[in-house]
């Protein structure tokens, strides 16, 4: 927290930048802005606990205002926590050390849709669903549809290297971002030109994508667009076990087929999310596929994929489970009575690994997490030709808050350790935030020193989102 003199000076000077209506030091506003969708934060709020609060919340309207605010913060050595939609699950916007929460929601303009190059230039504060609907009206899709689409925004997507439910076909946000505008801690504005590819040294924008506010504030982006698919077909296949399902997925990609949706539910996840609507055998694993594009292309892809599945021991469920998931894909994001009762907390460790390691990572993580009396269920989604992601979902409930938070931490510690031990990477799309911050160095290995040195150069005063991404802890 800032001392009262610094806070007062900062407030007065920031008012001259954004106007009095767009900066607040009110405690109620700080409380309402403190949390993102981090399950531990939400559980603590339910339990009546307090979260760290920002000293000031600032709502800039332009890149210029962001730049001026950062210059002031840098001069006064005040922490700055950029806030997008506040829909992240890892506590990335939690103002651990107080300071300024720089909320980008007023920067909400879709600046330009370029039909010729199929690009959209957009400010960071545009909410995902608003962008998607805007480009849909012009006949396009961004291809980026995470479950949080209604709550998250463009800046948050890029800051966390997020991934949508159709990333197998369209790619993750790092694939979709062609151009980027960011502001550094000293207020300098950096613009990475939007080009499809280049060979002019390293790709600087990729340094900023996923930096979670620790290196810069993302203010604007140019994203790829795709024509809305003429057809989207769904197919579902049930496998006797995870192994055969994964093998079928691997072979589908090997045949050159890129489904838009690939989701393989393990027996527990199938039992919970599929068996209540469809008659599935106990212990089976449901694979949900979708194919986007022209009708002829989609028919061929579906046919090839179905043939591979059936050869690998699948039972054909037609479009049912897959279409049902698609039509209810946002439902799982809503809280339930069960998951919010008492001292309960659930979360997802979304890891990623290559095919040679994926199954072992799954089994080892499941074993490590279940050792804490947690209910663990998983699905393999966001699959690619060389591997994919696992959603290791867990839920734990205890008699008191301290036991619940302790179990939660234990599950994370042991789950991530198992992932790293078996050669996986600890996040595919959710990011690091506070939840994974202490594991970052182990994940990066010797490369972490490079990241740390970059941070020291770009943010020598350590003001940018301290305590996240394993960097910038303050006393």
């Amino acid at each position: 927290m800032l001392d009262s003199k610094t806070k007062s000076v900062l407030l007065e000077r920031i008012r001259t930048v954004v106007g009095s209506d767009h900066v607040t030091v009110n405690e109620t506003d700080a409380i309402l802005n403190a949390h993102d969708a981090n399950p531990l934060s939400e559980a603590k709020i339910r339990a009546g606990e307090s979260l760290p609060l920002a000293d000031l919340i600032v709502f800039p309207a332009s890149t210029e205002e962001v730049s001026k605010v950062l210059k002031l913060a840098n001069e006064l050595r005040v922490p700055v926590v950029p806030v997008g939609g506040g829909a992240g699950t890892c506590g990335g916007t939690l103002p651990v050390y107080g300071g300024i929460q720089l909320d980008l929601k007023r920067m909400d303009k879709v600046i330009l849709i370029d039909n010729q190059s199929m690009l959209v230039q957009v400010q960071a504060g545009v909410v995902g669903i608003d962008l998607e609907e805007e480009v849909n009206r012009q006949g396009y899709t961004t291809g980026h549809t995470p479950t949080s689409l209604r709550a998250s925004n463009v800046g948050g997507f890029i800051a966390t290297r997020s991934g949508g439910s159709m990333s197998s076909l369209y790619g993750k946000i790092e694939d979709l971002t062609l151009g980027l505008e960011v502001v550094l801690a000293d207020g300098s504005v950096i613009r990475c030109k939007a080009v499809p590819r280049h060979s002019v040294g390293p790709d600087l924008k990729q340094l900023f994508i996923g930096s979670e506010g620790t290196l810069c504030v993302i203010t604007e982006a140019t994203l790829r667009l795709f024509p809305l698919p003429k057809e989207r077909r769904f197919r579902s296949m049930s496998f006797p076990d995870v192994h055969s399902g994964l093998e079928a997925i691997r072979l589908i990609f090997r045949e050159g087929v890129l489904p838009s949706v690939v989701r393989l539910y393990d027996p527990e996840d199938t039992a919970l999310h599929v068996s209540s609507h469809f008659d599935v055998e106990e212990g089976s694993c449901m694979l949900m596929l979708a194919f986007d594009g022209r009708a002829e292309k989609v028919a061929v892809e579906e046919s090839i994929a179905a043939e591979i599945c059936l050869k690998n021991g699948a039972k054909d469920y037609g479009e049912g489970p897959s279409r049902y998931w698609w039509e209810h894909r946002y439902d799982m994001y809503y809280p339930t009575k069960f998951a919010t009762s008492g001292y309960s907390v659930g979360d997802t460790i979304d890891i990623v690994a290559t095919y040679d390691k994926l199954e072992n990572v799954y089994h080892e993580m499941k074993k490590a997490m279940e050792a804490h009396d947690a209910v663990v269920m998983s699905h393999f989604s966001h699959m690619y030709p060389n591997g994919g992601s696992i959603y290791m979902i867990f839920f734990v409930s205890k008699e008191d808050a301290s036991s619940a938070w302790s179990a939660y931490k234990g599950i994370w510690d042991d789950g991530v350790a198992a992932c790293l031990r078996m050669g996986g990477t600890m996040s595919h799309q959710h990011g690091v935030g506070t939840t994974r911050s202490t594991y970052t160095e182990a994940e990066w290995g010797s490369g972490f020193q490079v990241l740390r040195q970059i941070k020291e150069v770009l943010d020598p005063n350590g003001i940018m989102n301290p305590g996240k991404l394993g960097m910038g802890g303050r006393s």
Binding site: T28, A37, A87, T340
Partner: protein
């Protein structure tokens, strides 16, 4: 709502990653996480479980709500934030902890029985009785049509007469109470309600017709829920006109017509089709839907005390709604609510004619001189 149910709803909403926020008009107006459904619930939740009392800012946030119930449409667990906000406001008023800006509306209704501070004696000035021997119907005009949107009241009376009704108005109509119910002054609202019920129940009429959805909700929902019974059925003008579709004329309006669903008529009372059927008939099918329509129609910004307390932000919402009508190429933005019409017409509606339903129906007959086409 009972306490256990409220507690459960608050817990669910406070734990939600804001799945309805993008549809909330006040989020659009402020672009901040404070005036959003999730935050309103979180504040009441924290107060309920003893974490933190409602301070002045928290109370302000609870009044930065239109009670439009758009959030409920997007809520899988069906958390009724508008009801929670209204219950909390009622408690705050009882505790004398409401924004002082509301004293004006409360005192003006207490003195003049309308929220505009106009003389009660002038309430019926717009009305010229017509001789008709048809089915007797009493028109409850409501305050806005009586004092601010006379065209709606006069069109309605003329239209009802034309359709063969014997139209009367109340001998001593008071505010329906809606602005009071919505802002937490429930007891004061019930005083208005009891008076209206007493007078209406003595009136010689078979039905009560209203043009204001706020009045419609008050008379048909709030009154009986609070033990105030009306002896005759209450009907909205759109429902009445739907009965007479065959008698309505089709006219060439020279452009497309779009309909703005008032929150109280649509989401709160489930009336979506009647006004559309009427418009479809009189325009010869030249009706176009805005992208946000029916249960997803965006509030006009003029509800639940917002315009009185936060006029700038209310206008941001109204302006956005007008733009949504422009986006679909409409020449006429029609609503069926004097309150909505007043807000939408006062925005930058150049090139767009904003009318209420009875006004455009009368325009189709080319009878009413006050309708500007």
């Amino acid at each position: 709502m009972d306490q256990a149910k409220t507690a459960e709803q608050l817990r669910l909403c406070a734990a939600c990653p804001k799945m309805c926020r993008h549809m909330c008009p006040t989020f659009l107006a402020w672009r901040s996480d404070s005036p959003t459904p999730h935050s309103r619930s979180l504040l009441v939740y924290q107060e309920m479980n003893g974490t933190r009392n409602l301070d002045e800012r928290a109370i302000e946030v609870l009044y930065q709500c239109l009670e439009c119930s758009q959030c409920l449409v997007w809520c899988l667990p069906q958390v009724d934030v508008a009801a929670i906000v209204e219950d909390t406001r009622t408690r705050l008023v009882e505790q004398q902890r409401y924004p002082q800006g509301l004293d004006k509306i409360s005192s003006m209704i207490a003195t003049n029985h309308n929220p505009f501070g106009e003389l009660h004696s002038k309430r019926s000035k717009w009305f010229t009785p017509a001789k008709n021997v048809g089915k007797k119907i009493v028109y409850f005009s409501g305050c806005t049509a009586a004092y601010r949107e006379n065209g709606i009241a006069q069109s309605t009376a003329s239209l009802l007469t034309k359709l063969g009704y014997g139209v009367s108005i109340m001998n001593d109509e008071w505010c329906c109470g809606s602005p009071l119910f919505r802002t937490g002054f429930r007891n004061q609202g019930l005083e208005e309600a009891r008076h209206n019920a007493d007078v209406l129940n003595k009136q010689d009429a078979q039905e009560i017709v209203v043009t204001c959805p706020g009045c419609y909700r008050a008379l048909s929902r709030d009154y009986p829920e609070n033990g105030v019974q009306l002896a005759r059925p209450v009907i909205h003008i759109s429902q009445l006109l739907e009965r007479h579709l065959d008698e309505l004329k089709t006219a060439d309006f020279g452009g497309l017509v779009t309909f703005h669903d008032p929150c109280h008529l649509g989401r709160h009372c489930g009336i979506y089709d009647p006004p559309r059927r009427v418009l479809n008939k009189i325009s010869g099918g030249k009706v176009v839907e805005m992208q946000r329509n029916r249960e997803n129609a965006m509030c006009c910004g003029n509800g639940a005390g917002m315009r009185m307390l936060f006029e700038e932000q209310a206008r941001v919402i109204g302006k956005a709604r007008v733009q949504q009508a422009r986006n679909v190429g409409a020449a006429y933005l029609v609503t069926s609510c004097p309150f909505c019409k007043n807000m939408l017409a006062s925005q930058d509606a150049e090139g767009l004619t904003v009318l209420d339903l009875p006004e455009i129906v009368m325009a189709s007959y080319h009878l009413h001189p006050k309708v500007k086409m």
